[in-house]
């Protein structure tokens, strides 16, 4: 396998853009990535694109629609869906295609828009789509699942409402200084603790919103292109994991879970991260910054443990100690996280990778992690989907 680098990246800012369609948002980010990489569209030899589950036929063929804007070149276009780890799948396919020598330069596209109102059921046939059951029979939107797991943490480890609020306070300081973030207000502990209760113990400002956005990386093993790029970033590993039998997590979509654990909580993310550590020959102790999937404050705490940055039950203490701040032992979500961006399902995994790359390229401005050399992007997708990408300079 060849060494593979991110030679360029581009974002469309996160927010709500009802006046735009997803192809327009994707095209903005592709243009920026091409310019950043210094390559022409005709030099892209493979297109791996995340699909938009709420995007209809065009959304399911997002790669073709975006390709046509820049000019159809006949290269392979693959459209992929892995829930919130969709972008991880696109990057992994682009990486594998380049690393294996099939092509020299490929693009991974992540773009999404969120439907109006709440995310809800996509079908009405429970035999075909088990997800229907929770909507018809149990009244369980996504945050309920996180609240059920969060309650277990409170019981098992003594995590407190203040810990959940502290996550939002911290991330809002970073989001305020990130030009691509949707939410830029700096919150106080009091404000978060007085925000509306959504599903106890999770409050409104402790749960991420749904957003629109686009994120692109161009990756290459072409020596000339790597040499010409502005601070290329090496992909040390980009892996995916699915759940492991016996995982006790009550997983979004499901209405059951094993009572006795035979695998770790969030086993798909445990699996993806351990595969990445092995492949990269690196461990949590080597990583300077981590973009984790903070869909809620529970995720922030749980992922520190799931990915091995501290022991079981120790995340709240790590947060309280300040060691997860930008100048701490491990800078966690220096982008501001989903907390400041909101999730754009098909795009967010690539966005996390772009944020990590920007840190390693010294482009993070006031949020810059000093001497950042190794960064990790970790995703979480429902029903056992996860991706881990480790980048180095």
């Amino acid at each position: 396998m060849r060494e593979v680098y991110i030679i360029g990246s581009g974002l469309h800012p996160w927010g709500k853009f009802p006046e735009k369609n997803f192809v327009e948002m994707g095209a903005v980010a592709v243009d920026r990535a091409l310019q950043d990489a210094g390559v022409r569209w005709e030099e892209i030899q493979a297109i791996m694109s995340g699909i938009l589950i709420y995007g209809g036929n065009a959304g399911h063929l997002s790669g073709q629609y975006i390709e046509s804007v820049f000019g159809e070149t006949g290269v392979p276009v693959v459209n992929v869906y892995n829930a919130c780890a969709t972008g991880s799948a696109a990057v992994r396919m682009a990486y594998n295609s380049v690393a294996a020598g099939e092509v020299d330069t490929a693009i991974a596209i992540g773009v999404d828009f969120s439907p109006k109102g709440f995310l809800s059921a996509k079908s009405d046939d429970p035999r075909q789509d088990r997800d229907v059951l929770r909507w018809y029979m149990a009244g369980m939107p996504n945050p309920v699942y996180w609240a059920l797991e969060c309650r277990k943490r409170f019981e098992n480890y003594g995590d407190t409402p203040e810990d959940l609020a502290r996550v939002k306070v911290l991330l809002s300081q970073y989001g305020a200084e990130n030009p691509n973030a949707r939410y830029k207000k700096r919150f106080t502990l009091e404000e978060v603790l007085h925000s509306n209760m959504v599903c106890d113990p999770l409050r409104l400002f402790e749960i991420c919103a749904t957003s629109d956005g686009a994120a692109i990386v161009i990756i290459s093993a072409d020596r000339q292109k790597i040499k010409a790029a502005d601070k290329p970033v090496k992909i040390a590993a980009t892996t995916m994991g699915s759940a492991i039998y016996g995982d006790p997590t009550i997983r979004i979509s499901a209405l059951s879970s094993p009572a006795v654990a035979e695998a770790p909580l969030l086993s798909e993310s445990y699996s993806a991260s351990r595969q990445a550590y092995e492949k990269a020959g690196l461990g949590p102790e080597d990583i300077d910054l981590l973009e984790l999937p903070d869909n809620s404050s529970w995720h922030y705490l749980q992922y520190l443990e799931t990915c091995g940055f501290c022991g079981e039950g120790e995340a709240a203490a790590l947060l309280r100690s300040g060691e997860t701040e930008i100048d701490g032992k491990i800078a966690v979500c220096p982008s501001g996280g989903f907390s400041s961006f909101g999730e754009a399902i098909g795009a967010q995994a690539i966005w996390q990778i772009v944020e990590v790359a920007n840190q390693l390229r010294g482009r993070a401005g006031t949020r810059q992690v000093k001497n950042a050399r190794v960064g990790m992007a970790q995703t979480y997708g429902l029903m056992g989907n996860s991706g881990t990408t480790i980048l180095t300079i």
Partner: protein, 148 residues
């Protein structure tokens, strides 16, 4: 299944079929168990075998009517459609109940004092009327309540 197990009750229709039944001992969740890998499934038609299992001995079973509260939340906003229930039930409880068979099942909690919920409380499975259809039948789901 024996004659005492009823897929429907007079005047009551499950909103979706094959998920629970009425018995002399109360409402019971339908499940399937694989006797090869000792795994319980829910719903019964969603297999979740242990890797390597020969998958030859799956049978339909009913879960015990009683279990313990493994986790819970209090939902303060109405779940969007297709969830449907008469009137505003917010805030409402949602629980994860651990059954003696070794499986946890999620569902609504019917409890007037939501603040009294605690992990470990003994729970029983009941039915809950979501709304009435045009013929005047109660359209129901399974739910849980604390055993007092």
């Amino acid at each position: 299944m024996s004659m005492e197990i009823m897929e429907t009750m007079e005047g009551k229709i499950p909103r979706l079929p094959d998920l629970f039944v009425w018995t002399a001992e109360g409402v019971k969740i339908r499940s399937a168990v694989c006797r090869d890998c000792n795994t319980y499934f829910f719903p019964e038609y969603h297999a979740q075998h242990r890797p390597g299992c020969p998958r030859q001995n799956v049978e339909r079973v009913l879960l015990n009517n009683r279990g313990r509260l493994a986790s819970y939340t209090i939902q303060h906003y109405m779940c969007p459609p297709p969830f449907k229930t008469t009137g505003d039930i917010t805030p409402y409880g949602i629980g994860l109940v651990e059954f003696p068979e070794g499986i946890c099942i999620a569902g609504l909690i019917m409890e007037s004092d939501l603040e009294s919920l605690k992990i470990g409380l003994p729970m029983e499975t009941i039915d809950y009327t979501l709304y009435q259809d045009e013929a005047g039948n109660d359209v129901v789901t399974w739910a849980f309540r604390v055993i007092k």
